[in-house]
C-alpha cells in the first residue's frame, strides 16, 4: 500500500504558470479524477507526479506500506503511468515481450512473469511475440496497462487512457482498470476531459482550470451539482441526447 501526497505543486514554463499550487492525496483503493479542458495543466500534473518533469515548487511525498517515506530513487517502483495514445506509447520497433520484460527486470523481477502479466490485463500469452502495429488500439492500451503494473506499482497515473480508443472498446479498458484497482488496492489518478466517465469511475473529482483547482469533492456532488461556474460550463457542454428527446422537439 502506498499513499501519494502532492503538496502545493507549481510549474512555471518561462513566464506562464501551467500548474499553480495543486495539492491532493492518492490513497490505496481510491480513484481521484482530474478533470479539465485542453491546456488546463492536467497533463503537466501527471508528468510531475511521474517525475518526468521537475516541479518549480511544491513536493510529492510517498508513504510506503510500513508507514515510512519512500526514498526518491524508489519512486518508480511505486508510481507508474499510462499514456493517452497507445499508438505512440509503444515503441514500434520492439515486441510486446520487450515492453513488459524490461520494466520487470529493472525492478528486480523475472521476465518469466510476462505471460502472467498479460493474463492480468485479459490478453493471451501468445501476444508477447507480436509488435505494436499488429495489435488493435484496445489491445495496445492493455499492454500499456500491463507495463505500468510490471514494476509492482501501487500508484497509477492514467492520463486520458481511453480518449484515443474506439468508443466500443473504451468501457472494456475502463472496466479493466476498475477491476485491477479493486483487486490490487491501487491508488489511481484518472485524468480526463470526459465528465461522465469521471463520475462513474472515480470517488473524488478535482476540476482544473488554467492551472488551478477550481472545485473538488466527491464525484457525485461535483458533477451533478456543480458550484463553480467553470464546472457548470463543462457539465453543460457535454452532448446530452436525453434532453433533446425528453422535450420531444427539434434542437
Amino acid at each position: 500500500m502506498t499513499t501519494l501526497e502532492a503538496r502545493g505543486l507549481t510549474k512555471r514554463f518561462h513566464r506562464t504558470c501551467a500548474v499553480d499550487d495543486v495539492s491532493f492525496t492518492l490513497a490505496p483503493g481510491r480513484t481521484v479524477a482530474l478533470v479539465g479542458g485542453s491546456g488546463s495543466g492536467k497533463s503537466t500534473v501527471a508528468r510531475m507526479i511521474a517525475r518526468l518533469i521537475r516541479p518549480t515548487s511544491g513536493e510529492i511525498a510517498l508513504t510506503g506500506q510500513d508507514g515510512r517515506p519512500v526514498p526518491r530513487r524508489a519512486h518508480r517502483d511505486h508510481v507508474q503511468m499510462i499514456f493517452q495514445d497507445p499508438f505512440a506509447s509503444l515503441n514500434p520497433f520492439h515486441t510486446v515481450e520487450h515492453h513488459l520484460a524490461r520494466p520487470l527486470r529493472l525492478h528486480g523481477r523475472s521476465a518469466t512473469e510476462v505471460p502472467e502479466l498479460l493474463e492480468r490485463v485479459s490478453l493471451t500469452a501468445d501476444l508477447a511475440r507480436r509488435r505494436p502495429h499488429e495489435l488493435s488500439g484496445g489491445q495496445r492500451q492493455r499492454v500499456a496497462i500491463a507495463r505500468a503494473l510490471a514494476p509492482g506499482a501501487k500508484v497509477i497515473i492514467a492520463d486520458e487512457p481511453v480518449s484515443m480508443l474506439d468508443v466500443s472498446v473504451r468501457l472494456g479498458v475502463l472496466k479493466l482498470l476498475a477491476r485491477l484497482q479493486r483487486e490490487e488496492d491501487l491508488a489511481v489518478l484518472y485524468i480526463t476531459h470526459d465528465l461522465a466517465t469521471a463520475r462513474h469511475f472515480s470517488d473524488e473529482v478535482l476540476v482544473m482550470h488554467r492551472g488551478r483547482i477550481v472545485e473538488r469533492g466527491p464525484s457525485d456532488d461535483v458533477l451533478t451539482r456543480p458550484r463553480d461556474p467553470y464546472t457548470r460550463l463543462l457539465a453543460a457542454a457535454a452532448p446530452d441526447p436525453e434532453a433533446r428527446f425528453r422535450q420531444g422537439g427539434k434542437p
Binding site: S89, L106, H107, L223, A236, P241, R244, F245
Partner: protein, 559 residues
Amino acid sequence: MTWTAKLVSGLCLAAAIVLFGLLGPLLTGDPATIRDVGLTPPGGEHLLGTTLTGQDVLAQLAHATRGSLWIGLLVGVLATVLSGLFGIVGAYAGGVADEVFSLFSNVVLVIPGLPLVIVVAGFVPAERRGTWTIALVLAFTGWAAAARVLRAQTLSLRNRDYVAAARVSGEKTWRVICVEILPNLLPVVASQFVFAVVLAILSEAGLSFLGLGAADSSTLGTMLYYAQNGFALQREAWWWFVPPGLVIALFGGALALVNFGIDEIVNPRLRDRGRRERDVVAVRAQVAPAEPDAVLTVRNLDVVYRTARPVHAVKNVSLTLRRGEVLGLAGESGCGKTTLAYAVNRLHRPPAEVTSGSVALEDVDVLALGPEELRRFRWVRLSMVFQGAMNSLNPVTPIRAQLQDVLRTHRPDLSASGRELRCAEVLRLVGVDPARLGAYPHELSGGMRQRVMIAMALLLDPQVMIMDEPTTALDVLVQREILNEIKRLRDELGFAVVFITHDLPLLLELADRIAVMRDGEVVEHATAEELYLRPRHPYTRELLASFPSLTGERGALLR
C-alpha cells in the same frame, strides 16, 4: 522488410564491386610489375590492356577498387559515429549540450569541404599522408549534414510517449538512446552511412587525382592520376582511364539505388504504384432519379482498395441528404466513413477505386465529371472540412491570403475589395472578428482555426458541406461552441451537412438523421429520435451503451 527492385539491383551491383575489390587482388598479379609492353590494348594476356609502363590495368583496377572501398568504409563509419554522437546525443540531452553540439555541427557544415580537404591534405607532408590521415580529414568534413538530419529526427522521437514510458519505467539514459531511439533511426542512419561512403570515395578520387591523396595507397583516384600524367587521353589509351571511372560511377549508382530502396521501405508511399495521380472510377452507372428535396444522393456505392489483399472499404452504401438537413455518419476507426466522404468528393486516390454505384448532387453526376468540371464543382457546390482541419492551415501565410486564394481561383472576376469583403463576411458568419484576417494560424487558438476552416468551406456558398470529425481534437467547451455555430449556420444559410464522427451522443443531439457504419456497411439508417429511442441493430445498441451518461445511477457501468 520489403525488398524492392531498386534495393535488390543496387545491393547486387554493390556486392559485385565489393567482391571484385576483395577477391580481385588475390587472382591478379602484382599491379606494380613493369613490363616492356606499354599501352597494349585490351585482349590476350592482359584482359584490360596495360599502362604506359606495361603494368596490367586489371591488376591495378582490382587493387585500386580495394583501396577506394577501404577509404569509403573507414570514412563512412567515422562520419556516421561522429554524426550520431553530435546529432543524437545532443538532441536527446537538450539544453546547453544540444546548443553547443548543434552550433559546432553548423560551423563545420558551412566550412567549404573540398578546399579544406585540399588545405589540410596539402599541409601534411606527403610521406606522412597515409590512408588514415585522408580518412580522418574526409570524415571530419563529411559528418555535419548527417548530424543535422539525425538531430531533427531525434528531437521528434525524444518527445514520443514511448520514450517517456521507458523513462518512467526506470531505464537509464544511454539505454533509452540505444534501445528505444536508435532502432527507430536505423533507416536514416543507414542511408546517411551509404551517402557518406559514396561521398568519401568521390572526394578521395578527387584528392588523389590532384595528387593530394594518401602516399601509401593505390585507389581509383591514383589510377586516374597516373593515367592523366601518362597522357592516356592524348594517346587514346581509353582502357587506362575508363575502367576506374566506370567502377566509381557504378559503385556510386549502386549505392544511390540502395538509398532509394531504403527510402521506399521507410516511406511506402514513394513506391511507384501509389504515385498515379488521378482518382479511379471504374464504373458508369445510371444516376437514379433523385427523391424530391434531395441534394446529395449516394446509391449503392462501393469503394475498394486495390492492394495486394484488396480491401472492400465501402460496401453498397446508399444515402440521401435533403436540403437544410444534417446527416450524421457514425462509426469507429476503419469503418470506411472517411473513404466514403473522399469518394463522394472524388478525392480518393489509388489504390482506392470506386467500383460501382453513383453519386449525384442535384442534377450533377459527380462520378462522371471531367477534371475541369470537377475543379469547378468542388468547393463551389460541395465543400469539405477535413479531419484535423485546424492543422491544415498553412503556417507561413496569414489567413487572409488563404481565404482569398479560394476566391481568386473560383471567382477570378471578383475585385480585390470584393474579395476582402467576402472574407470578412464569412469570418463574421463563423463568429471570428474580421480584424483577425491578418493573423497567422499560430496566433489563433485551436477552436478559432477550426472556425476559419469552416469559414473557408463557406466562402463559395456550397449547397453541401462534408465535415469529417471537425470537433474531435477540440475540448468539450470549444466543441460546444462549434456545434452551436453549425446549428446556427444551418438555420441561417440552409445548406446541408454530412457530419462524420465516432461520437454518437453528439450526433444524436445535432443530426436530423443518422447512418451507423460498420466494416464499410451502413448497418442502420434512421432519424435521430428513432435511433435513440428504438435502435434496431445490435451494433447501434452497443455504441449507445458505450457512452456513460452524466445522469443516471453511478458506478453501475463498471461492475
